[in-house]
């Protein structure tokens, strides 16, 4: 099954109420949302707030998202808009309450739009490239590099149904493809 077809199946499963499929979508978009939030130096509470809003809007938009590229573009743009909306709200409150630092923001100086775009670009490009990899290699790279639980080789072997000895070569192939894809997207190392 092609990546595009796999993605469409994933979206269909979500819309049928499959929570596992939704978790997979959330897993894909979380680094992008948190990357943008980090770029804006949001507090943890504010980041969780933005995350909830973006997930809600994503669920509403899901039936119209036909490709992984559209999914990521939507999530990145929506996250930025939600942050701007939050900032507008807190500024309005500041005008009334006279606070120096908007609630939910831990930084002193806000980065400009260019800086913000650059800070979240790496996460977006990486996720976009990962989505293009064959399923097994993409999952392996996620387990090895992105999984917070840091599974052992034995656990990964069980999850993917491959021998422990194939993890190294599969990872090498996956990373080589990922590098090519990132270069294609104009990403510099």
């Amino acid at each position: 099954m092609s990546n595009g077809a796999r993605f469409r199946v994933l979206i269909e499963q979500c819309l049928l109420g499959d929570e596992t499929a939704w978790s997979e979508v959330v897993e894909l978009v979380t680094p992008v949302i948190l990357g943008v939030c980090r770029g804006r130096r949001l507090s943890r509470e504010a980041s969780l707030d933005i995350f909830g809003q973006v997930c809600f809007l994503l669920l509403k938009k899901l039936p119209t998202l036909k490709s992984p590229e559209k999914l990521l573009a939507f999530v990145a743009t929506t996250t930025r808009w939600e942050i701007y909306a939050m900032m507008r709200r807190t500024r309005l409150l500041d005008d009334v309450l006279g606070s120096d630092l908007p609630d939910g923001f831990v930084g002193q100086q806000e980065p400009g739009p260019d800086e913000l775009a650059e800070q979240s670009e790496t996460e977006e490009v990486l996720v976009r490239a990962l989505l293009k990899l064959p399923e097994k290699e993409a999952k392996l790279i996620r387990y090895l590099f992105l999984d917070e639980n840091e599974p052992t080789y034995q656990e990964i072997s069980r999850k993917l149904g491959i021998p422990v000895a194939s993890i190294g070569p599969t990872r090498a192939r996956g990373l080589a493809k990922l590098r090519r894809l990132l270069k294609k997207y104009g990403h510099n190392f």
Binding site: S23, R38, D49, F145, G168, P169
Partner: protein, 195 residues
Amino acid sequence: MTGKTNKIEMVIGLAMGSLAGHEIVVAERLIAKEPELAEVYELARQLLSAKDVRREAEVGHALKNLSSQLFRDYIRNLKGGIPTGITVFDSRDLPVPRGIRRPTVDTRGLRYKLGDLDVELAFYPTTVDSCELIGQVSGLDGPGPLTVTLEGGSEVHTTETDQFHLFRFPRIPVTEYRLILQRNDAVLGTIEISL
């Protein structure tokens, strides 16, 4: 395992910080000598940095719980009928920042989407088994108060929103509730709350 795989293993080990002593020197030499391996090293570092974003935020657990709850709420609403609250924020799962001792009693903030409305709730513990609930509804068109009913166990509490669409239940037992919002006897939506 081939020689090439071994080299990649070394370089990734360096990115992950799992090498020691002489291994580090060997890996660094490999990176300096082979541009392809230098790129693998940089790629591994960037992948690990994406994980750090989540780790730094320390919100992994909260994100997982919130996204699952939000999904279940959303799917329930697709069945039609009176809108039920979709959880978009719950402070319960947020970790306490480093160096800060968790208070004996926690306040809890919740936010819901309810059709076109946004409902914000805050629970303030008053005793071990009771709390105060303050809520606010936004996104309403038209004036006039809403009737807010809280059903839980055998108890039913009712109040009205003020001019800012704020409402308050001063002392309610800690249990499971259904909050019902009404305007002129028409139910606008319900929210299931588990304290």
